[in-house]
Symmetry: C2
Subunit: 433 residues, 2 copies
C-alpha cells in the first residue's frame, strides 16, 4: 500500500459544484441541537405533534400491510417511479375531499412534498431562470430551488395573501413570453412562514394572471386541512386543472413516513418521472402501503380533528401571550390555521443577532431573513411555531422572548425619544396588532 | 373565471431545463409493463426475491418500533438530514462485518444507494466535469450523473474487473490535477451489469492510481454480501479510508424500505448534507427504525443465508441453461455472486432491435447499450438477471432467448460462410465460454 500520510485526495473541499457554493445551511436545522437542551422552549421548528396519533391507528395500518402475504411482498419490493396505484387512489380521494377531482394518472408520489419541490426545480430550472415566490417563503423551498441557481423574485403578502398588484408589476417587468420565467410558487393556505391565507378574490386574480402570462403555477398546500377558524378556501387547483398541486401526509398523518404527491397534467408528470428515475428509483413502498391503509382502514378523520383542536388551542395560547407580553412596537399575523405566526419588529432590530440572547433566555425562533432568497430582507422579523409545545410552554416562551425584545427596544427608545432615530412605518408584511 | 379554452400554460413541454433534454427513460422501467404479461419471463429486472424474508422477521422488527411509545414517536417524526443515530450504528456494525471500521459521524443515511449517487452527483458535478466509470456500468448511476451533465468516460472490464491499464491511460490523458475530473465510480463486487469482480491486485492498483491522481473514488457495493462461490474480497474502503463507500439494505433485506448509506470523510458528508436538505429534508424515519431493528433484533443472517442459497441455485441454473442452449458465437460472464450475467453476441447482432422478437417469444432482457453513457457501445450485448425467477423459469427463458438469437445468427452464418462478412473477434468485455 502507498504511504497515505503523504497523499491526499480529500480536495473535495474545493471541488464541489458551483450550485453548492451558493447553498446555506438551514438555520432551523442548525438550531436543532440547541433546541434539544431541556431548558429551551423551541418556537423554531415546524413539527406536528405525532403523539396525538393513537397507537392503535398505526398498528391497524401496519398490520393490514404486513399480515397479508401479497401486500407485504409489494411493500418490501421496489415500486414504480411514479408510485403505487393504491396510494394514488387514496390521494384522489383526499383531493376530492378538498374539492379537486383527479385521476391516478394525474398523481405522482414523492418522498414528502419537499422532494416534489426538488424534482420540479431539477426538471424546469436552468441557471438564471426566474421563479416568483411570496417573500418571505418556505425556506427549504428556497433550498430546493437554489440548488439549480435560479433568480428568485419575491412578492410580499398582506393579510389576504400574496399582493396581486405587486405580482402583476413583477410579471410586467419580466415580460410576457419571457422563456426564463419558469413558475410561480405559492403556499395559499396558512403560509409558511407568514401564517396568512390568500383570499378568494386574490386566488381568482392569480389564476387570471397566470393564464395571461402563460406561466406555470405551483400550489403548495401542506397545511390546508389544519384550519382552526373560518371557512374552507377553494384550492387554486380546483380553479384551473393545469395548476401543479403539491400535497403531503406530513401534517395530516406523520412526516416520519415520507409520502407526498404532485397532482399535475400528465405531460408535466412525464418530465418529472424522467428526473425521478435517477434521483432515488422509487419512494418507500412500505411507507406508501402503510399510509394507504391508514387513510382507508382507520378513523383518520378523528385524529385530524384531534390535531385541529389541539393546534387551535395552542394558536390561541400563543396569540394571547403575544397580546399580553409583546411590546407595542411589534406586530404579528393572525393565522386561521397551520403552524406559524410571523412577527415583525421595528426595522432597527436584527433578529439574527438577537437569537443568541433568546437562546440564553431559553427560547428559539427562526430569524426572518432565512425566508428570503438573498437574506437581505426580513432582518427585523421572525417565524414562531405553535404546533409542538403545550399552551403553558408557549406562554412561557413568548414571555421570555418578549423580555429579550423589550431589552433591545429600551435602548432604541432612548434614541427615538431624543429624536436621534425615527420610528419606522409598519412594513408591508405586517398585520398591525 | 377566464375562458381557459383559449388560454394555455402547458408550454412546459418546451421549457424543461437543459439537463432534462439529455435524459433517456430507463429501458428497464419501460419494460416493466411488458414484463407483467403473465406469459413473459423477465430477465430484465434486478429485483431481490423478498418472499424469502419470513413474515415473523418483519413483524418482529416492526413491532419493536411501534409497540414502544418513544420509538414510535421518533419513527413518525421528521428526522435529521443525515439520518438517525441508531441506524447509523447499525451501519457501522454491518460495515465492521465486511472489514471496514467507521464511526456514526462518518455515516450518512440516504433513501437507498440510488439517492446517494444522485446526491454525490449534485454535490460535485458541474456541466462538463469528468466522471470515470466501468463500461458497461449501472444504468441508473448514469441517470443520476447525467442529470448534472458531466462527460462520462468508460473503462472496460474483463474477468478481473475494471482494466487498470486502460484506467491509467485514461487518467494520463485527462492529466494530473485536472479540476474537471471529479471522481471514479466502480462496482467492484459482482458488477452491474457485468457480474465480474475486481481482483485483489486490481484493487490495490486502483487505490494507487487514485492516490497518484488525487481523485475521489466512489465504491458502490450493493451485492457484496451475496457471494455464491469464492472468498470475500477486501473492500476498497478498507484499503483507504478516504474512499466514498455506498451501501444499501435493498439486497440484504428489502428495497421497499428505502435505506442506503454513504461512508465517507466528514468534510465530504458536510457538503452532501447541505445538498440533502433541499432534496427531501430527511429520509423515512419509519423505515430507518424498522431496518435498525431488523438488523439488531432478528436472525437476519439466516435470511441472508437463504438469499445466498436460493440465488446461487438460480445462478447455476442460468449458467447451465446458457451452456446447453446458447449458440457457440455467444460468450458470457460467470458471476461469483450478485444478480447478473453479461452476454456478448457477435458484433453484427443488435440486441436493441432483437428485443421485440424476444418479447414475442416470451422473454425480456436489457439491451447492452443502456449501460453506456452515449448508447453507442454495447449494442451486441445484454444483461440478464437470475435473482428473481425460479430455476425452471430461468431455464425456459434462456431456451426461448437462445431460439431468438439462433434465428438472428442463422441469417448471418450464410453471409459468413460465403465470405461476405467477417466473424468478429471476442470483444474486451467478454469471458470466452
Amino acid at each position: 500500500m502507498p504511504n497515505s500520510a503523504h497523499l491526499e485526495f480529500d480536495t473535495s473541499r474545493d471541488r464541489v459544484a458551483t450550485r453548492v457554493k451558493k447553498l446555506r445551511s438551514s438555520p432551523v436545522r442548525d438550531l436543532f441541537s440547541a433546541a434539544t437542551r431541556p431548558d429551551v422552549i423551541s418556537l423554531s421548528g415546524g413539527m406536528p405533534d405525532v403523539s396525538l396519533i393513537p397507537h392503535d391507528a398505526i398498528k391497524q395500518a401496519v398490520s393490514a400491510v404486513i399480515e397479508d402475504d401479497a401486500l407485504r411482498a409489494v411493500a418490501l419490493q421496489y415500486g414504480s417511479t411514479d408510485g403505487a396505484l393504491g396510494m394514488k387512489k387514496t390521494v384522489c380521494s383526499l383531493m376530492r375531499d378538498i374539492g379537486v377531482r383527479c385521476t391516478p394518472e394525474q398523481v405522482f408520489l414523492t418522498s414528502g412534498a419537499q422532494q416534489a419541490l426538488a424534482l420540479i426545480a431539477k426538471t424546469f430550472l436552468d441557471p438564471g431562470d426566474i421563479v416568483i415566490t411570496e417573500g418571505p417563503t418556505y425556506l427549504t423551498a428556497l433550498s430546493a430551488f437554489n440548488g439549480y441557481e435560479p433568480e428568485v423574485i419575491t412578492v410580499p403578502f398582506d393579510d389576504d395573501g400574496m399582493r396581486m398588484d405587486i405580482l402583476e408589476e413583477t410579471l410586467e417587468r419580466i415580460g410576457k413570453g419571457n422563456p426564463r420565467l419558469k413558475f410561480i410558487y405559492t403556499i395559499p393556505n396558512f403560509q409558511n412562514p407568514g401564517g396568512v391565507t390568500m383570499s378568494d378574490e386574490r386566488r381568482r386574480r392569480l389564476i387570471e394572471l397566470v393564464q395571461e402570462y402563460q406561466v406555470m403555477l405551483v400550489e403548495d398546500d401542506p397545511y390546508g386541512r389544519l384550519r382552526y377558524e373560518g371557512g374552507h378556501q377553494v384550492p387554486l387547483k380546483a380553479m384551473d386543472p393545469r395548476v401543479v398541486y403539491l400535497g403531503t401526509i406530513s401534517k395530516t398523518m406523520a412526516p416520519g413516513l415520507r409520502v407526498g404527491w404532485i397532482v399535475a397534467p400528465r405531460h408535466v408528470l412525464a418530465k418529472i418521472n424522467l428526473v425521478k428515475q435517477g434521483t432515488d428509483l422509487c419512494c418507500s413502498s412500505f411507507d406508501q402501503a402503510v399510509v394507504e391503509h391508514y387513510f382507508t382502514d382507520t378513523n383518520w378523520q378523528k385524529v385530524l380533528q384531534a390535531f385541529i383542536q389541539v393546534y387551535g388551542e395552542r394558536r390561541d395560547a400563543m396569540l394571547e401571550a403575544l397580546e399580553e407580553f409583546f411590546p407595542k412596537e411589534a406586530t404579528w399575523t393572525h393565522p386561521e390555521g397551520g403552524f406559524f405566526v410571523w412577527v415583525t419588529l421595528p426595522e432597527y432590530v436584527d433578529t439574527g443577532s438577537m437569537l443568541a440572547e433568546a437562546l440564553e433566555a431559553g427560547v428559539t425562533y427562526v430569524p426572518g431573513d432565512s425566508f428570503y432568497p438573498d437574506g437581505k430582507l426580513g432582518k427585523n422579523s421572525m417565524r414562531i411555531n405553535f404546533s409542538y409545545e403545550s399552551p403553558e410552554n408557549l406562554r412561557e416562551a413568548i414571555r421570555r422572548l418578549a423580555e429579550v425584545i423589550e431589552e433591545k427596544l429600551e435602548l432604541y427608545r432612548v434614541f427615538i425619544d431624543a429624536g436621534a432615530i425615527k420610528p419606522d412605518q409598519p412594513p408591508v408584511n405586517s398585520h398591525v396588532n
